[in-house]
C-alpha cells in the first residue's frame, strides 16, 4: 500500500475501528515512515483538542421556542391524533399479506409476553445495584477472619481520605471514581447475594475477597490525586 492509502486509514486507526490485521499493518508502516507518523500526530492533536472543547447546552430560551413549536404542530384531539398516526402508517407503505399480518401479530404477542415475564422477574429479584446501594460496609461480615477485618478497616480509612480529596478533582475524574466504586460495590453485592443462597460457594467467596482487594486498589489509586 502507498502512503496515501495508509493516511486514508489513519483516522479509523486512531478511532480503533480497523480490523486487527489492518491495524497491525498500519502500526508496522508507522514505525518506519516519518511522513505518515507526522500525519498521524496531526490527527491525534485534532482528536485531543476536540475532546477539550466544552459541550454547549442550549439556553432555556431555545428550549421554550422548541416547546412552543412542538406544541403548535401537535394534534390536540384524540381523533386528529389517530388520523395523524394512520397517516404516518400510510407513509410507511406497508404492503403486508394476511399471513404476514398474522405472523407480525404473533411476533408482537411473543415480545409482549417475554417483556411481561422479565418485568415480573425483575420486580421479584432485588437488583445488584439496589443491593450495592445498601451495601456500604454492611454485609462484610461474610468475611470473618482477622485479615479480612483489616481489609475492611483499611477500605474505610481510604474512603474517608478519598472523600476529603475529591473536591479538588475535575468532574471527569469524579465521575470515573464514582462509576468505578459503584461497579466494585455492585460486584460485591452480587457475590454477597450468591453467598447468601449458598454459603459454601467457595468461588463466590474467593471472588468476594478479590473484589475487596480491588476496592482497596481503587481507593489507594485515587488517594494519590
Amino acid at each position: 500500500m502507498a502512503c496515501q492509502e495508509y493516511q486514508e486509514l489513519i483516522s479509523d486507526y486512531i478511532d480503533g475501528t480497523l480490523e486487527l490485521g489492518e491495524e497491525a499493518r498500519i502500526e508496522r508502516h508507522l514505525a518506519d515512515c516519518d511522513g505518515c507518523r507526522a500525519v498521524r500526530d496531526d490527527l491525534l492533536q485534532i482528536v485531543h483538542f476536540s475532546r477539550q472543547l466544552p459541550l454547549h447546552t442550549p439556553s432555556s430560551e431555545v428550549w421554550t421556542q422548541l416547546q412552543t413549536k412542538i406544541a403548535a404542530e401537535r394534534p390536540t384531539h384524540f381523533g386528529s391524533r389517530v388520523a395523524a398516526w394512520v397517516s404516518r402508517l400510510k407513509n410507511l407503505e406497508l404492503n403486508l399479506s394476511v399471513p404476514q399480518l398474522a405472523a407480525s401479530a404473533a411476533a408482537l404477542l411473543i415480545i409482549f409476553s417475554v417483556a411481561l415475564i422479565i418485568s415480573r422477574q425483575s420486580a421479584e429479584t432485588p437488583s445488584a445495584s439496589s443491593l450495592a446501594g445498601r451495601s456500604g460496609t454492611a454485609g462484610m461480615n461474610l468475611l470473618s477472619n482477622a485479615e479480612d477485618q483489616e481489609i475492611e478497616e483499611k477500605i474505610e480509612r481510604l474512603r474517608e481520605s478519598v472523600e476529603q480529596r475529591r473536591v479538588t478533582w475535575s468532574p471527569e475524574l469524579q465521575v470515573a471514581y464514582d462509576r468505578s466504586i459503584r461497579q466494585v460495590d455492585q460486584c460485591l453485592a452480587t457475590c454477597r447475594q450468591q453467598l447468601s443462597g449458598d454459603p459454601s460457594d467457595q468461588v463466590s467467596k474467593d471472588l468476594m475477597r478479590d473484589a475487596y482487594l480491588e476496592k482497596q486498589r481503587l481507593l489507594e489509586g485515587f488517594t494519590k490525586f
Binding site: 480503533g16 511522513g35 485534532i46 463466590s204 474467593d206
Partner: protein, 249 residues
C-alpha cells in the same frame, strides 16, 4: 512527499491550529491554567533491555514495538509541563504529575520489542503491540488490547473495560487478566499449552476449541480450571460482569 499527501497534512495542521485556538478560548471552571498546547517528546537509548513505566491519569496510551534501539515517547497534551520523566539505569519513568490530575494526555510510545512495560492509567484506551518484555497494565476505566505479544509475564487489571489478548504463552510464564466489568477475549495458538483458571461471576466461559484438549478439568457454574495439552504457563482469567472467550488463532 506527494502533492495530495502534502495537502492532507496542511489541512490537518490548519484544523489543528483552529481547534487549538477554540480549545484555548473555551472556558471551563475546573480547568487548570491552560498552557500553550503542545507535545511532550522524548527519546531514550537504554544500554540494555529497558523497563518503561508510564503513570498517566486521563488519555489513551499506545505502545508499539519497533526495530530501533530507542524508546520514543510522544504525548499530546495541553500542558506538557505537567509531564515529568526520569531515567535510572535502564529504567525509564514518565508520569503526569500527581498535582495535575485534571489534564488529559494521549501517549504514543515506540519501544524496542524486549522492553518491559508498566502502564498505569485511570481512564483511556490502552494498546500494546509486538512487545516481548513483561507487561503490567493497571487502570480503572480502560479498554486494553494487547496484540502480537510474546511476553513471559502479563498482568492486566481493570475495573471497567474489555480486555483483548493476542499472542503466545511462554513456558513457565504467568498471564493474569481481570476486569470487574468487561469481556475478556484471548486469542491463542491452537497448540498453546497452559494451566487455566477461569472465573466469570455473571456470564459464560467459552473455551471454544480449547475445551477438547483440556484435562484435569474442574468445572462449576462460575469457573473452569484444567490443563491444556501438557500444561505449563499459568493462565488466570477473571471477570465479574462479562464473558470469557478463548479463540484459537
Amino acid at each position: 512527499m506527494s502533492k495530495s499527501r502534502q495537502g492532507f497534512g496542511d489541512a490537518c495542521r490548519a484544523a489543528t491550529a483552529a481547534l487549538s485556538v477554540a480549545a484555548l478560548g473555551a472556558s471551563a471552571p475546573y480547568a487548570p491554567a491552560v498552557e500553550r498546547p503542545g507535545r511532550f517528546e522524548r527519546s531514550y537509548t537504554p544500554r540494555g533491555a529497558a523497563h518503561f513505566t508510564l503513570s498517566n491519569v486521563s488519555g489513551d496510551i499506545t505502545v508499539t514495538a519497533w526495530g530501533r534501539r530507542t524508546v520514543s515517547v510522544l504525548a499530546i497534551t495541553e500542558s506538557p509541563a505537567a509531564i515529568e520523566d526520569r531515567v535510572v539505569g535502564t529504567d525509564i519513568l514518565v508520569s503526569v504529575k500527581q498535582a495535575a490530575p485534571t489534564i488529559r494526555a494521549d501517549f504514543r510510545i515506540y519501544v524496542p520489542a524486549n522492553t518491559s512495560l508498566s502502564l498505569k492509567n485511570v481512564l483511556g484506551k490502552i494498546n500494546v503491540s509486538g512487545v516481548t518484555g513483561d507487561i503490567v497494565v493497571t487502570s480503572f476505566e480502560s479498554e486494553v488490547r494487547l496484540q502480537d505479544v510474546q511476553a513471559a509475564s502479563v498482568e492486566v487489571r481493570v475495573t471497567t473495560g474489555d480486555i483483548y489478548f493476542d499472542g503466545q504463552l511462554r513456558e513457565g510464564g504467568a498471564y493474569s487478566f481481570q476486569s470487574m466489568k468487561g469481556d475478556i477475549d484471548l486469542n491463542l495458538p491452537g497448540g498453546a499449552a497452559f494451566n487455566l483458571a477461569a472465573r466469570a461471576l455473571s456470564e459464560k466461559i467459552n473455551l471454544g476449541e480449547f475445551a477438547k484438549g483440556l484435562t484435569g478439568v474442574t468445572k462449576g457454574a462460575k469457573m473452569v480450571s484444567g490443563n491444556h495439552l501438557a500444561g505449563g504457563p499459568r493462565l488466570t482469567v477473571t471477570t465479574y460482569d462479562g464473558r470469557i472467550v478463548l479463540h484459537k488463532k
